[in-house]
Symmetry: C2
Subunit: 337 residues, 2 copies
DNA sequence: CTGAAAGCGCTTACAG
DNA sequence: CTGAAAGCGCTTACAG
């Protein structure tokens, strides 16, 4: 990259003059028109761009500490708002003097994120929805800044999780108490860590509670409303529909409910539904039917993340902090207690 | 703020030694334990934090250009994902070597955003959901970096808008063609620029098309599912429900639809609904009933924003660019053509 | 009107 | 084991 020095050399003027011109002070500092022109041309031919970092140093612009949330913009993009609002609210509540910034990344490519491998860009990274590969990258300690893992676990990092296992068990217990013997499951296809863990936990709980899950009743679906709808169609087509359905995400549940409504399968009379809830709680509340969810405590997790971030900034977080938040079951029409 | 120089002075060692210690190279560089300790203590007593900007300059870490999306985390947080995904996809499509970052702000307080008043932090700002005050701030040219206004208009800035006026007219035309004479409206309370403009445009269109809107049938609602639900309750309570309802946001429409379902008011037989659509198109598609929307072309607007950003980075955007994108009417069950 | 010089706060060879 | 010095790319008094 050309520097101001190169521009000065090409234009045949001093560095000071270049600085004045590129900062638009040519008139006010009474730089000769001709000189200013020479500078502009040199800038253009070299493709010169001022170095922001140098400018900031010189201008004593240190800025506030920056907390970066890393979040992938795949099908989980819809969960971002709730978490971001949670982070933001906690920053406000604590009157932290920090900037909160969202960086998007692609699963498995976290290692490409320069904000993580360079210790001077952000002060703290909250990393959400990491894939197995992303976790490997982190575990190999290639991240140069303090990391808070969001809903993932690595011993040597700060982590904030939702107690999905207990919640899956509780969801299964509800079905068991109601005497359901057969349960269907709609789960996200692919190997996202959290969803497969949630589904696995639910299946284990069913086994423990002596409920039967025919493998053909575990439908894998693309994580979208349409995916949920397609899964519901498959279940109906297969026939012999169980009276209980578990979904590992409310997005799938909403898509599925649409089809049950269309096919006049009454929820909850003919089919009771429970879903994990990752969207804002009001979303599932205002569906028709409203959907009973094990609501992931995103807000509490976000608050805790900021609490940890604050202690990192204060240098009081020596040992990794591992926080676990309890989801809340929100009983709605799709499965009343 | 204390500098490395202060730490060195207090610890009674050289700057180099301090640098080595604070960068965790004490062992490897065989710094005497005692020396390292003195440094650590000086760091602690002074509360020294290394200056990231200086580090970056020294480490020749210039980084990529940064495009910052400014978005408020109020009730409009739920619209963020769709726009962000749109921006991200276009960055990818163009293989731009830029960082995309989201900065949250509070309406009316855009002027506090240091990223805008300091020209060295971000290279380009895309500003969404600006309030009138925020626009004043921008118009007063206090922003030091190139700005792209998202769904707002100021002559001297790059702007990308949705043609809400034409769309509102088209929505009204649909009702008019179906012979509706009376129409109800649910609109967002408060003075958000876009929503009030949409509602106003719709009301104007109704007047032009000789449809009657009783002012008492224009219900102001908090922008949330609950707000939409409350508005629907008000409409029902008032009695003499029109057969056509317009909502300025799909969030309101979804909340309202829930109540109509509960009250067994058949959509569309007893009441036809059209809403502006700010959420992803699939959301309203999978509601029960699915909701006919004038879908704001967020994706196209995002693409255009990135196109403008690219030309700014290439210095080929001399004059302000003003782009207008056409919304698309998506016919769903709530109002078939 | 223009330029030489100082200095922002660091890191990194290099010398001892 | 430790320190003096150079220098990252700028901006800003200051001198002329």
């Amino acid at each position: 990259m050309p520097t101001i020095r190169d521009v000065a050399a090409l234009a045949g003027v001093s560095i000071s003059t270049v600085s004045i011109v590129i900062n638009g002070q040519a008139e006010e500092r009474q730089v000769a028109k001709e000189t200013a022109l020479k500078v502009s041309e040199a800038v253009k031919t070299l493709g010169y761009k001022p170095n922001n970092v140098a400018r900031r140093l010189r201008s004593a612009d240190e800025g506030k500490p920056v907390i970066a949330l890393y979040w992938p913009l795949d099908y989980r993009a819809s969960f971002l708002a709730r978490i971001l609002v949670g982070l933001q609210n906690e920053v406000k509540r604590r009157s932290l003097n920090v900037d909160l910034v969202v960086c998007t990344y692609t699963n498995d490519y976290l290692y490409k994120e320069i904000g993580l491998t360079n210790k001077n860009r952000y002060n703290i990274a909250i990393i959400g929805a990491a894939s197995a590969k992303d976790m490997d990258f982190l575990a190999s300690s290639k991240s140069k800044i303090p990391v808070i893992l969001f809903n993932r676990y690595l011993e040597s990092f700060h982590t904030v999780r939702s107690n999905d296992e207990a919640s899956a068990f509780e969801a299964a217990s509800i079905f068991a108490k109601k005497g359901h013997k057969r349960v269907a499951v709609i789960t996200t296809e692919g190997s996202a860590i959290a969803t497969s863990f949630r589904t696995q936990s639910f299946l284990n709980a069913c086994r423990e509670l002596k409920m039967d899950i025919d493998p053909s009743m575990v439908i894998k679906a693309e994580h979208s409303y349409e995916g949920g709808a397609n899964a519901a169609r498959k279940l109906i087509r297969r026939g012999n529909l169980p009276k209980a359905l578990f979904c590992d995400s409310d997005v799938l549940a909403i898509g599925a409910a649409k089809i049950f409504n269309q096919e006049k399968i009454n929820i909850p009379d003919e089919l009771e539904m429970i879903s994990f809830g990752l969207l804002g709680a009001d979303t599932t509340e205002y569906m028709t039917p409203s959907i009973t969810v094990v609501s992931i405590p995103s807000e509490e997790m976000a608050s805790e993340s900021i609490a940890i971030a604050e202690s990192i900034l204060n240098d009081t977080a020596k040992e990794p902090i591992h926080a676990v938040k309890e989801p809340q079951i929100l009983y709605r029409d799709s499965c009343r207690i």
